[in-house]
């Protein structure tokens, strides 16, 4: 009888355990209902189902610095200028005109009759308020530095001291003239500044953003081609055409359903079996057979991303005189062609300068600028490294974060260097567990050895590939490279009113940088996309994001 009695207790304890989970399971049914409203995947509803990664930040324009959040902002906002998806050129969209006489004071006229998706008007104030919000340090916007060229930025965003309080709430350089006109005064001359305005940090914001911030975050409102119909954080977002949008990129479909996936491999399986329409990241292991799997519904084109690894120029061992030969030798010991073929299946292109093919020759891209410095020559490489005194301590490592797939290419680069040097242990990869830890080591200058780096452009201009990375104190100058000649060329280029002359100055700076080789250019990353037989007209812009407005749903 003991058994029967103890069984009662087992049941009792089980009931308690179930009670503990009861609240969560009752919510479950609620979630399911929410899910089915956003599901909408029947074949004739004209909705494009696309892959999405969970945005890392709230969907505020000045606070979004990664592609997945940017994807949505691109769809729901129209900026003063927008980048043409084909040429990458900045074209006027929400702005009627942007004029200047001195490259420092700009007058911006906003098109009349523009409306946000909630029906409120888009005015000069929508822009000025948005920019002031983005710049103010207490709003903690990650992209605040985009406004740093505007006069009065230092008062709203003091950066000399961590604890400094802002002395103003708005930037003195921004002035609303009338409903549709405002003026911008920059700190100094900057001829290409208006071309930056296509970056989403410069988007206008509706009144609701300031009056009911929580409601905005739950369902963002913008003035772009699409509007958010429903948003289940972490799962999916459904976007439908914005009836108030009058711009040039009217959607050619009835909406887009962005689905958050836990991995690219799953998304790829869903794409093959027709449960997903557009996937803009193909798992590397599937690249060899992607064209067969998808019957050629695959694109692979240049994007504004360059991949590199950086030397810690703050470390004597790597920066002392003579080491420039070693750094150059290391660059020449890397067989970029074979690595891009075998590891990346042609989705990367060996680098020939420090920019990106999306700039075009007129924009400053060059296939010859780096010349021998990036040409594989194992014999010369070994010779240069020996002349420079060899690797510091006889060996080197390349640091990377292990939570992203970098291991394969880092190992391949190291093997290439090892083969050139005839020493199988000269170079090895050095993984760090998480990206957060990796970035901390870099920003605190704890990296004693080279580490992987990369740059995705904010806007398709050569200055974006040079200034942040190589100017002294540049916002992403992780190797702490500094060359006064380069700095002065960059300043001249920024002030130059003529684009061709400005580009030539930047290229001069580029040559100087390549002589010093603080960063080894590896390859340009391409944009990729695969799509289902259900949709057509899938293209990507220079930022490797699908042009959703152009996609059509078949039959």
């Amino acid at each position: 009888m003991r058994g029967a009695k103890s069984a009662k207790w087992v049941v009792g304890a089980a009931v308690i355990a179930l009670a503990a989970t009861a609240c969560s399971s009752s919510d479950d049914s609620g979630d399911k209902d929410k899910g089915s409203s956003t599901k909408a995947s029947s074949s004739s509803d004209g909705i494009v189902r696309a892959w999405w990664g969970d945005p890392q930040n709230p969907l505020e324009p000045a606070n979004t610095n990664e592609v997945q959040g940017g994807k949505v902002l691109d769809m729901i906002f129209m900026n003063l200028k927008e980048y043409d998806p084909k040429t990458g050129k900045a074209m006027l969209e929400a702005a009627d005109s942007i004029t200047t006489t001195d490259q420092q004071n700009f007058t911006i006229k906003v098109k009349p009759d523009l409306k946000f998706s909630d029906g409120t008007p888009v005015t000069a104030k929508s822009f000025v308020d948005a920019w002031n919000y983005g710049a103010l340090v207490t709003n903690k916007q990650l992209n605040a530095y985009f406004f740093a060229d505007i006069d009065g930025y230092d008062a709203v965003h003091p950066s000399d001291d961590e604890n400094a309080k802002p002395t103003a709430q708005t930037m003195s350089g921004l002035k609303v003239v009338d409903d549709h006109t405002f003026t911008v005064k920059l700190k100094q001359k900057f001829s290409t500044w208006p071309d930056r305005l296509g970056y989403k940090a410069f988007a206008p914001l509706p009144t609701e953003f300031f009056t009911n911030h929580a409601a905005y975050l739950a369902k963002p409102i913008g003035d772009g081609p699409y509007m958010v119909e429903s948003y289940t954080k972490g799962t999916s977002m459904k976007l439908v055409p914005n009836p108030n949008y009058t711009g040039p990129s009217k959607p050619k479909n009835k909406g887009v359903l962005l689905k958050v996936y836990t991995s690219d491999e799953t998304a790829y399986a869903d794409l093959q079996s027709g449960n997903l329409d557009v996937l803009d990241t193909i798992p590397p292991a599937d690249l060899p057979h992607v064209k067969d799997d998808l019957d050629g519904r695959y694109l692979n084109q240049p994007a504004g991303i360059i991949q590199t690894f950086s030397f810690p120029m703050y470390e004597k061992a790597w920066s002392k005189p003579g080491m420039e030969k070693v750094r150059l030798g290391i660059s020449m010991a890397i067989d970029r062609k074979t690595i891009t073929d075998k590891i990346f299946q042609g989705t990367r292109t060996p680098a020939t300068d420090l920019t990106s093919p999306v700039l075009g020759a007129a924009g400053g891209f060059s296939t010859t600028l780096a010349g021998d410095a990036v040409t594989y020559d194992p014999i010369k490489a070994k010779q240069l490294i020996q002349e420079g005194g060899g690797l510091p301590g006889g060996h080197m490592t390349i640091g990377y974060n292990a939570d992203s797939p970098h291991k394969d290419w880092v190992d391949a680069v190291c093997n290439s260097i090892n083969n050139a040097l005839g020493d199988n242990k000269a170079c090895v990869g050095a993984p760090t567990g998480t990206f957060a830890d990796f970035r901390n080591q870099i920003t605190k200058q704890q990296m004693k050895q080279p580490f992987r780096s990369g740059w995705q452009m904010d806007y398709p201009l050569i200055d974006d590939f040079i200034t942040p990375l190589y100017a002294t104190g540049g916002s992403s100058n992780d190797s702490k490279y500094s060359n006064p000649q380069v700095d002065s060329l960059i300043n001249q280029a920024n002030a130059e009113g003529d684009t061709a002359k400005s580009v030539a100055l930047y290229q001069q700076a580029e040559k100087l940088i390549l002589n010093d080789m603080p960063i080894v250019p590896l390859w340009y990353q391409n944009g990729e996309a695969g799509w289902s037989a259900r949709v057509s007209n899938v293209t990507e812009n220079a930022f490797s994001v699908p042009v959703f407005t152009d996609i059509t749903v078949n039959g």
Binding site: P284, A285, D286, P288, H289, D335, T338, I339, K342, I343, N401, A402, D403, K407, D408, D411, A412, N415, S416, N418, N419, N424, K425, V428, G429, A430, P431, T432, G433, T434, D437
Partner: protein, 310 residues
């Protein structure tokens, strides 16, 4: 079952002199404890010899991998990437263009070391703590069990990044220590359960009534009867620990590159399973054979310890 009063537990070491086959059956019966019995049984089991030979061979190539593999496992040429088996390279090449055969042979050392160290560590720590908790019960059980509950909850990635990063670069012993630290609770639970069952058996109660002390009860009467699930669990765990090392390495906190191990090669081959299945076949096969050898050895030892099988 033969209850020998004097032959101590330490007699696990085979008394080779008296135990020769020439000795008559009856004299041996008198002097044998359970453990010497087991040793006697083992030596008549062909499975024991086969599995021991495989394990000896593994130990041999762990110490002298160069004896059967002449290529450097770190000599990799990307041109050969993913090339299949061929005349000079029977196992083909991996993603980086390294020789799979050489890497499989050279990977044995790290894998077998991590597997054995972790398994032995977990088995000792887990069965001692679990056994004591199960035998004494009460507050000791409460504390040990609740501590293991907390350890159960620690995610491997979190524990790995925090613990292993603190040591800056993993060696076999550090990685094994970490696996032991996270691995012991499950075995402790199993050992505890087995001891709780065994301590209520009639012969244990009888021995207790005869005045046997805790140590004697635990080691002579309870341990042999509670050992079976521990052995079964450990032999399978050996294989999973070898794979776990790869998980840690791929998280960037395991063995320091350019370490070669089966686990690392199995993981990198997994991603390429549709493109180059041969990359997975050989390291995974080596792991299978190792686990098989230990499972068979474990079975043989367990059978030898079971008096009812005689």
């Amino acid at each position: 079952m033969p209850e020998n009063t004097d032959a101590a537990i330490l007699d696990g070491v085979p008394p080779t002199t008296q135990d020769g086959t020439a000795l008559p059956q009856d004299t041996r019966d008198k002097a044998r404890s359970l453990w010497t019995d087991a040793w006697y049984d083992l030596r008549r089991n062909p499975v024991f010899y086969i599995s021991s030979l495989v394990i000896l061979f593994l130990v041999f190539i762990s110490i002298w991998p160069g004896a059967i593999a002449h290529t450097d496992p770190l000599q990799c040429d990307l041109i050969n990437s993913q090339n299949g088996p061929s005349g000079g390279h029977w196992f083909g090449f991996d993603q980086q263009g390294c020789d799979v055969y050489s890497r499989t042979v050279h990977g044995a050392r790290n894998s077998v070391e991590v597997g054995l160290l972790s398994t032995v560590g977990v088995a000792l720590l887990g069965s001692v703590l679990g056994g004591l908790a199960g035998y004494f019960g009460g507050w000791l059980d409460a504390i040990l069990s609740r501590v293991s509950d907390i350890f159960f909850g620690i995610p491997i990635l979190l524990g790995g990044v925090v613990f292993l990063s603190a040591f800056k670069g993993g060696s076999v012993s550090i990685v094994s220590t970490f696996i032991i630290l996270l691995g012991w609770p499950q075995l402790a639970r199993i050992a505890r359960g087995a001891v709780i069952t065994a301590k209520e058996q009639d012969y244990v109660l009888a021995a207790k009534a005869l005045g046997a002390g805790h140590g004697r009860l635990l080691l002579r009467h309870i341990a042999p009867n509670a050992l079976a699930p521990v052995i079964v669990w450990s032999t399978i765990a050996l294989g999973t620990f070898i794979s776990l090392e790869a998980t840690l390495s791929f998280l960037g906190v395991g063995l320091k590159p350019p370490a070669v191990s089966w686990g690392i090669d199995i993981s990198s081959a997994s991603e390429q399973i549709r493109n180059a299945p041969h990359m997975l076949l050989f390291p995974a096969g080596a792991l299978s054979i190792t686990v098989l050898a230990f499972i068979l050895l474990g079975d043989a030892v367990r059978d030898a310890l079971d008096p009812k099988l005689r």
